[in-house]
């Protein structure tokens, strides 16, 4: 390995590390607020990337059907509850948010040809299609069982993951997609070439992380989420609804996932099931942070990215083995440093 290759690998590692860091943050956030280990995080990455690719190829992305179906299901659940409680005034709003909005979006997609739109609008459309799925899934799948054990919630998560993978295959087919780069700019440092897309990924990740920091430190909703993470019951007594906190954290996680997918789809080909491994690598990072600390999780994720990148050079066949075996020494270290194993 010469310096040029080392730099190239490092660049690759930092790029994927930045993505893993974003995902790790989302995972820590969701776990802290709702106790859900959000295995389907990776599916949002794939759905984001493939929805954008579909829009650019002028196909109606399958995610719109999922959006419509989930919206209808929520409208039925909430509308039914409103009918039983005789709160008829709520029904128009329920229908508007859950049925009319997705229908409008679908109509717009059919009416205009998304392939001709400028890239930022395409990205925005893709996010509008994918991000609402997060809170909708929370509302339908997690909220009814919000009080069960972490273990049961984990099994629910795996079930959601399996469902979404199957739907991903149905929506997007087995072929992978790669979107054109956001920018063709590249810089040369001596022999090393720095791709503009790489810089974009890293900068966008950093901006997002800083934005999240301000969200949690400076805004009321951010503080409400932190309060829920620290003490669920206490936060509820202070008037912070668990449902709101859950939906908000799932919205953030879905947005981070979908946006990560959009960021990396010009760099790597994304298949309907690629998200799972990407999300799990975010997990390895998050576990390094003990599913609790944001900075350690982010640092761990970058470490995972670098490890992956360098091991793909030395032993490319064993890349995944190395990355996922890393979790064992990490867990061992955590188990030796954790004092209270569990309190019944």
């Amino acid at each position: 390995m010469n310096l040029q290759i080392a730099l190239l690998l490092g660049q690759d590692g930092v790029t994927s590390g930045a993505i893993y860091a974003l995902l790790a943050l989302a995972l820590v956030l969701v776990f802290a607020v709702t106790r859900v280990i959000f295995i389907p995080q990776g599916e949002f990455v794939a759905f984001g990337a493939l929805t954008l690719a579909g829009l650019q190829a002028d196909r109606l992305p399958g995610t719109i059907w999922l959006l419509l179906a989930l919206g209808t299901a929520i409208a039925l659940v909430e509308g039914g509850a409103a009918l039983r409680q005789r709160r008829y005034r709520r029904i128009p709003l329920i229908l508007l948010v859950n049925c009319a909005a997705p229908l409008l979006l679908a109509g717009a997609l059919v009416a205009v040809s998304p392939a001709g739109l400028p890239l930022p609008i395409q990205v925005l459309l893709a996010l509008m299609l994918v991000v609402p799925l997060g809170p909708m899934i929370y509302r339908l799948v997690y909220q009814p069982v919000a009080e069960v054990s972490v273990l049961a919630l984990l099994i629910v998560s795996v079930a959601v993951h399996v469902t979404l993978i199957g739907l991903g295959l149905f929506f997007f087919g087995a072929e992978g997609s790669r979107t054109p780069a956001f920018t063709e700019v590249s810089f040369e440092f001596g022999e090393a070439v720095l791709q503009g897309q790489t810089i974009l990924v890293v900068v966008a990740s950093l901006v997002l992380i800083i934005a999240l920091y301000f969200f949690f430190e400076r805004t009321l909703y951010g503080k409400a989420l932190r309060a829920t993470a620290m003490n669920r019951t206490g936060a509820r007594l202070m008037g912070i609804s668990g449902q709101l906190a859950g939906m908000l954290s799932f919205t953030l996680a879905a947005a981070i996932g979908a946006f990560s997918g959009i960021l990396i789809s010009p760099i790597t080909t994304i298949y309907y099931d690629s998200g799972f491994l990407i999300g799990l690598k975010g997990f390895v990072g998050a576990i390094i942070g003990g599913l609790a600390s944001y900075p350690v999780a982010a640092a761990g994720a970058v470490l995972v990215g670098l490890l992956e990148s360098y091991s793909s050079f030395w032993a490319s066949a064993f890349k995944e083995v190395i990355v996922f075996t890393l979790i064992l020494p990490v867990l061992l270290w955590r188990s030796l440093t954790t004092r209270h194993p569990e309190e019944g």
Partner: protein
């Protein structure tokens, strides 16, 4: 354990149907049944792990892969007999399971499943990328199993072997759950604090149940390798590992038969979905995942116990209890001499961050006396209890029990020395019967392990343990509730069950945390009478209680605590007259 009285007949019927099945069914169904059998063995391990032990693994397919690949390599490359590769595969499986367990089981419950996901993926890629293991193409030409002169070449021949192994595992599992070690595993689900206080080595129990589940998977993998006579990485992937968990959950994760029902349902469903879903959707692909995922969510929302309890409900129920009246009594530990010092706490302090919950508290408890610890709420009484019993050790100070320093021992070792306790917030296993709950208290008075339990070599010891449990239950006045589930009793009675459980450990020192709360007047009188009798037997009793009539009528000595400090101590009458105590309880006169 609760069982249907027709259980045995059902089992016989089941065996009968199985015996004739291969003779009458077409090849396709025999193959299907073979797979159901193989999957059931793995799912059964998950029932033990998830439904009974409260742990979860997504990596069972990888354990099956270890069993399969070990046999594949040893038979094809080294020509070892398949019957020798089974123990070799199981050895490797258990080594991996134990190391994985050691790494993850000390952490909170969700790290084990996450660890197994990572391990499932690692092993899958490892199988697929090592040339010696055939890479993604796999290993072909695995020899068939041979019993005597008969080679098991066809699915029909294999059928009996698979289902015999499955039935063997079902019986062993059922036996194991209905035993001393089984109760310890079942206690894991209620959190480790109570189990540890009763002397159960909970990390060991967790590792054992995880290893047993892994071994079941290993056996299934070994059978698979010789049935298919070909292995590749696909059937041992994480996807399959997830499917195994689905089988257990859909079938009924807390029931032995749930594993078979679940494996059958999922396998048949998968078969038919793979047939018509692609036709319906107009594409080819594994779309059954969508249905499985939704089905799982539905089960977890609407019927968390799975399908088996719905079937079970249709069968008449009866509580089975073996006769133990003829069993010998358990040996009792020698009583310390009445009046000798049992427990001595010196300068015991406990700090939670900046909060000092116990501040240099010293006291003694003697054999044959009732020492009461009283004080307003938040005075630090329960904290002191947890410190003495090792549940949450003191920050500083010493605790001597029967002349031995115990302040840094884990709760289970202190329990072994003869200290037993109850909890302020009742910690019973609500789904288990009263006698099973109480028998957990006698855990340390038996010694038979997992293997003995699985093959029913523990029956005489088990009868003695149950007899002892029954004796303590009768003593606490609960004879009528002996076979009711503990969760169905009113809170006051549950407290009595806790006392019976503590007594089943044959303690020298009994720590009772608010035993009279929630009891009615007559029940309180009966409890006081019981405690007096225990005292006369030479047991030392340390009591935390708010009911002053109860305390003052019973205690030999009283210690009053306030804000973590010792306020006063002495005879009940002295303490009652102490102006400091009066002020603490009633407020000072301004």
């Amino acid at each position: 354990m609760r069982r249907s009285p027709y259980d045995t007949y059902l089992l016989l019927l089941f065996v009968g149907v199985l015996a004739v099945a291969p003779a009458v069914l077409p090849e396709f169904y025999v193959t299907l049944l073979n797979y159901i059998g193989l999957y059931s063995i793995v799912a059964l391990g998950l029932v033990m792990l998830t439904g009974v032990g409260g742990l979860t693994s997504f990596g069972q397919a990888a354990f099956a892969g270890l069993g399969a690949y070990t046999s594949a390599v040893l038979t094809t490359v080294y020509g070892v007999s398949p019957w020798l590769t089974l123990p070799a595969g199981l050895l490797i499986t258990s080594l991996v399971a134990v190391s994985l367990g050691l790494v993850t089981l000390r952490l909170s419950g969700h790290f084990l499943p996450l660890g197994t996901i990572a391990w499932g993926i690692s092993l899958y890629y490892l199988f697929g990328n090592i040339d010696a293991l055939g890479g993604h193409t796999g290993i072909a030409g695995i020899p068939p199993l041979q019993i005597g002169e008969v080679e098991l070449r066809s699915g029909r021949d294999f059928f009996y072997l698979i289902w015999a192994v499955l039935l063997g595992t079902v019986l062993a599992t059922r036996n194991l759950l209905d035993s001393r070690e089984g109760r310890a595993i079942r206690a894991l689900k209620g959190g480790s604090v109570m189990a540890e206080a009763m002397g159960v080595d909970t990390p060991r129990s967790k590792i054992v149940v995880f290893t047993v589940a892994a071994l079941y998977a290993g056996v299934s993998g070994w059978l698979y390798a010789h049935l298919q006579r070909f292995v590749n990485p696909t059937p041992f992937s994480l996807t399959q590992g997830i499917e195994y968990l689905f089988m257990a959950v859909v079938g009924g994760v807390s029931h032995v038969w749930g594993a078979i029902v679940g494996a059958g349902l999922i396998t048949v469903l998968k078969q038919s979905l793979q047939d018509w879903l692609p036709r319906l959707l107009g594409q080819s692909g594994n779309f059954e995942a969508i249905v499985f995922g939704l089905l799982m969510i539905l089960v977890l929302h609407r019927a968390r116990d799975g399908v088996w309890p719905m079937i079970d409900r249709l069968l008449p129920q009866r509580v089975l209890h073996g006769s133990f009246s003829g069993a010998e009594d358990l040996p009792r530990r020698p009583r310390p001499q009445a009046g000798s010092v049992l427990l001595e706490v010196h300068d015991g302090s406990k700090r939670f961050g900046g909060l000092v919950a116990n501040d240099r508290v010293s006291f003694t408890v003697r054999a044959g006396e009732v020492m009461a610890l009283i004080g307003p709420n938040g005075a630090g009484k329960s904290t002191m209890f947890n410190g003495i019993s090792g549940v949450d050790p003191l920050s500083s100070g010493t605790v001597s029990f029967r002349g031995q320093r115990v302040e840094s021992l884990p709760a289970r070792d202190i329990a072994r020395l003869g200290m037993s306790r109850t909890f302020q917030h009742v910690r019973l296993l609500p789904g288990m019967t009263v006698i099973e709950n109480v028998a957990i208290g006698a855990h340390l008075r038996g010694g038979k392990g997992f293997v003995a339990a699985a093959c029913r070599a523990d029956r005489s010891e088990e009868a003695r343990l149950l007899k002892e449990a029954a004796r303590q239950i009768e003593r606490c006045g609960l004879a009528e509730q002996m076979y009711e589930s503990a969760g169905s009793l009113p809170l006051g009675k549950q407290r009595l069950v806790e006392i019976a459980r503590a007594l089943a450990a044959d303690p020298c020192l009994l720590l009772l945390d608010e035993p009279a709360a929630g009891l009615r007047f007559l029940e309180k009188q009966a409890l006081a009478e019981l405690l007096r009798r225990l005292r006369d037997e030479g047991i030392g009793i340390l009591l935390v209680e708010h009911d002053m009539d109860f305390v003052m009528g019973l205690a030999d000595r009283v210690m009053v605590m306030e804000f973590g400090q010792k306020l006063a101590s002495g005879l009940p009458e002295e303490v009652q007259r102490n102006p400091l105590v009066v002020e603490a309880y009633l407020g000072g006169v301004e």
